[in-house]
C-alpha cells in the first residue's frame, strides 16, 4: 500500500522548543584581507557574543558554514576553521551547499536548538576567496562537469548569463529594469560599515560597464570577497534572560533541483519556490506578499534579486522588475528588499554572505540596523540564499513576535 505523502513535509516537523536569535556579528567584507579564515571567524564571533552578552563558555554547540575548499587549496577546511569558530571541545559540524550556505548554516543551527540538543548554538560562516590566483574564478572552474562541460572551457558566469537571458526573454524584461537592482543595492550599502563596493551609480553605468558574458556586465555582478559572519541562536528560556526583544526563527526551508541544469527551464527558480513553501508553511504564512515586511533575497547578480523575489512569492512571475521600478523595494518602500546593500553592495564572500542575509534580517527585526533600518514597521521577514549548480534554495523566516 502506498502512503500519501505530501511533497514538502515541513508541517510534519515537530520541534522541542522555539528558537530565538540574540546576537550577530560580521567582519568587514573586502577583496583581500590580511587575516586568515580562523582570525576572521574569531572577529565575527567576538562581535556576536558581545551583542548577545554571553561568552564562548556558554556556547554548547557550533555550526560552521564555508564554501568550496578549492578557494583555500586544502581540505579539512572545517577542521582548519574550528578554533577560530570557537568549536573546539564541543559538538561541531560544517555544512556546505555552495552559495546557499549563508542561510543553510543558520538552518542547521536551528536544528540544533529546535531539537532540544542545544540551548545555545553558535553559527559561523567564513570565506577567504582571495587566496586563489590569478582570480577566484579559477577555483570555480572545478564546479563544472569534467566530461560534458569542462572541455568547452566554461566560465562560471556563463550559467548566470544563460539564466538571466532566459528570464528576460520569457517575461520580456529590459536590462534597464534589472540594472535598477544594482543601483539600489550599491546605494543602500553606503550605510553599511562593512561594505566593499558601495557607490552611487546610474542605470547607464551598469549598461555601459565592461561586458563579461552578455547579458551580464561588470556592474551586474557582486565582487569576490573575504569575510566572516556569526549568529547566536538560543532556546526561549535563555532568550528571556538575555533580552526583551529576541527575534524568532519561525520557518526554515531548503530544496535542490536536478543537477541536469540544461534540462530545466531557467526562467523560474523552482528550488527557491519549494524551499519557500516549506518555510512559509511552518511559519503559517499564506500570502507572503502581504505578510512579509522586509526581505533579504540572495543577490549575487542584479537579476537574481528579482528571480528570487518571484521564487519567494514576494512578486508574481515577471512582476519583480515592475515593483523595483515603482520603488516598492526601496528602503522606504512597501517591501524593502536588500536594505543591507546585499552582495552587490556589501560584497560576496560566498557563505559569509550570511552577514547581509540572516544577520541583516535579524538586525532589521530587532530594530538595530541603524542608518539601514527600513522606514516601515516590521514584524516578519524572509532571507534566502542560493547556490551549487544554480539548484539550491535555502530560506529562513523570522519574526519579532512569537
Amino acid at each position: 500500500m502506498v502512503m500519501e505523502v505530501e511533497k514538502i513535509s515541513g508541517l510534519k516537523f515537530h520541534k522541542k522548543q522555539d528558537v530565538a536569535i540574540v546576537g550577530a556579528g560580521m567582519t568587514t567584507f573586502k577583496r583581500r584581507l590580511n587575516e586568515t579564515g580562523r582570525e576572521l571567524s574569531y572577529l565575527a564571533v567576538k562581535q556576536a557574543l558581545e551583542e548577545a552578552g554571553i561568552t564562548i563558555d556558554n556556547v554548547e554547540m557550533v555550526v560552521m558554514g564555508s564554501a568550496p575548499d578549492t578557494f583555500d587549496g586544502f581540505h579539512m577546511k572545517g577542521e582548519y576553521l574550528l578554533d577560530g569558530a570557537g568549536g573546539s571541545d564541543r559538538p561541531y559540524m560544517r555544512v556546505f551547499v555552495g552559495g546557499g550556505t549563508g542561510v543553510f548554516a543558520p538552518i542547521a543551527g536551528y536544528w540544533h536548538v529546535a531539537s532540544g540538543l542545544a540551548d545555545i548554538c553558535l553559527v559561523v560562516c567564513e570565506e577567504k576567496m582571495s587566496s586563489t590566483h590569478p582570480h577566484p574564478q579559477s577555483a570555480f572552474k572545478y564546479i563544472w562537469d569534467p566530461i560534458l562541460d569542462r572541455p568547452l572551457k566554461p566560465n562560471l558566469i556563463w550559467i548566470f548569463a544563460l539564466e538571466m537571458r532566459r528570464y528576460m526573454h520569457v517575461h520580456n524584461i529590459k536590462h534597464e529594469d534589472i540594472a535598477l537592482v544594482s543601483v539600489k543595492n550599491k546605494a543602500n550599502a553606503l550605510d553599511h560599515p562593512c561594505a566593499q563596493v558601495a557607490e552611487r551609480i546610474t542605470v547607464e553605468d551598469v549598461l555601459n560597464s565592461e561586458p563579461m558574458a552578455l547579458p551580464v556586465r561588470r556592474l551586474d555582478v557582486s565582487p569576490p570577497s573575504d569575510g566572516a559572519a556569526a549568529l547566536i541562536m538560543v532556546a526561549p528560556h535563555i532568550a528571556r534572560q538575555l533580552t526583551d526583544n529576541p527575534v524568532w526563527v519561525t520557518g526554515v526551508g531548503w530544496a535542490l533541483d536536478t543537477t541536469w541544469w540544461t534540462n530545466r527551464d531557467l526562467y523560474f527558480p523552482r528550488y527557491v519556490a519549494e524551499a519557500a513553501k516549506m518555510a512559509y508553511r511552518q511559519a503559517h504564512i499564506t500570502d507572503p506578499r502581504k505578510e512579509i515586511d522586509v526581505a533579504e533575497p540572495y543577490d549575487p547578480f542584479d537579476y537574481k534579486e528579482l528571480h528570487h523575489m518571484e521564487g519567494l512569492g514576494l512578486a508574481k512571475k515577471g512582476e519583480a522588475p515592475i515593483l523595483t521600478r515603482e520603488g516598492v523595494t526601496q528602503r522606504d518602500g512597501d517591501l524593502p528588499t536588500c536594505p543591507s546593500g546585499g552582495l552587490l553592495g556589501v560584497g560576496n564572500p560566498i557563505s559569509a554572505a550570511m552577514g547581509v542575509k540572516a544577520c541583516e534580517l535579524y538586525w532589521q527585526l530587532a530594530y538595530r540596523a541603524g542608518k539601514r533600518q527600513v522606514a516601515k514597521e516590521v514584524t516578519t521577514g524572509v532571507c534566502q540564499a542560493w547556490g551549487d549548480l544554480m539548484q539550491v534554495g535555502t530560506v529562513m523566516v523570522m519574526s519579532n513576535k512569537r
Binding site: A24, E50, P134, K153, A161, P211, P215, Q241, W260, C359
Partner: protein
C-alpha cells in the same frame, strides 16, 4: 549571564585589515605560495561512455523513460524523477533549438578572450521539450543569435573524433 549591548547599531564596528594587489605583488605582507599539481582521470560511467561513443560515430544518443514519458539528453542510467532504470536508448537528431545563450568575453580564469564565444543551451530535436545540452555556436554573428533559433551540429571529421563533447565543433544556424 551578563546582558549584552542592546541600544546599538549593528554591526557596531568593522574589523579586518584590507590589502591591495600591490601589497601582495610588492611582498609588503607575509605570505607563502603553492602550486598544487594533482592529476585526475575520470571514468565516464555507463551512460556517458555510451553517449561519448555515439558522438564518435556522429550520433547524439538519448534515453527514454516509459513511466514519465521523457526522452532525455544527456543520457543517464536511471530516470531521476521516477527513480527507476531507463527503458531504452534512442538516436536523436543533430539539430535543435537555442533555449538561451550568452556572448562571453572571458575565459575560465576570467581573463579577456580575443574574440567573444557564443555559448547556448540547445534543446535537441527528438528529445522532450527543454531537454538541452550546453554547447558553442559558430558561423553566426553575436547580434544575429536569438532564442528559438534552429541550429545544426557541425561535426569534426570522422578520423579526428575521439569520443568527447568537442567532437561537435559547434552548432550553426539551420538554413531554410
Amino acid at each position: 549571564m551578563a546582558v549584552g549591548k542592546k541600544d546599538i547599531e549593528c554591526p557596531p564596528y568593522a574589523e579586518g585589515t584590507p590589502l591591495s594587489d600591490a601589497d601582495i605583488n610588492d611582498k609588503k605582507v607575509t605570505y607563502v605560495e603553492d602550486h598544487p599539481d594533482i592529476r585526475y582521470s575520470w571514468t565516464a560511467g555507463q551512460a556517458i561512455s555510451k553517449f561519448l561513443n555515439g558522438l564518435k560515430e556522429g550520433k547524439i544518443l538519448g534515453v527514454k523513460c516509459n513511466k514519465c514519458g521523457r526522452t532525455m539528453v544527456p543520457p543517464r542510467m536511471f530516470c531521476e524523477l521516477c527513480y527507476k532504470p531507463i527503458d531504452g536508448w534512442v538516436e536523436l537528431k543533430d539539430t535543435g533549438t537555442v533555449e538561451t545563450f550568452s556572448i562571453s568575453y572571458i575565459d575560465p580564469d576570467a581573463r579577456p578572450l580575443p574574440e567573444p564565444v557564443i555559448v547556448a543551451v540547445i534543446s535537441i530535436d527528438g528529445a522532450s521539450p527543454h531537454m538541452g545540452i550546453m554547447h558553442i555556436l559558430g558561423e553566426i554573428k553575436p547580434e544575429d543569435v536569438y532564442i528559438g533559433m534552429k541550429v545544426k551540429a557541425v561535426w569534426k571529421g570522422e578520423e579526428e573524433r575521439e569520443g568527447a563533447i568537442t567532437d561537435i565543433k559547434y552548432w550553426k544556424p539551420l538554413e531554410g
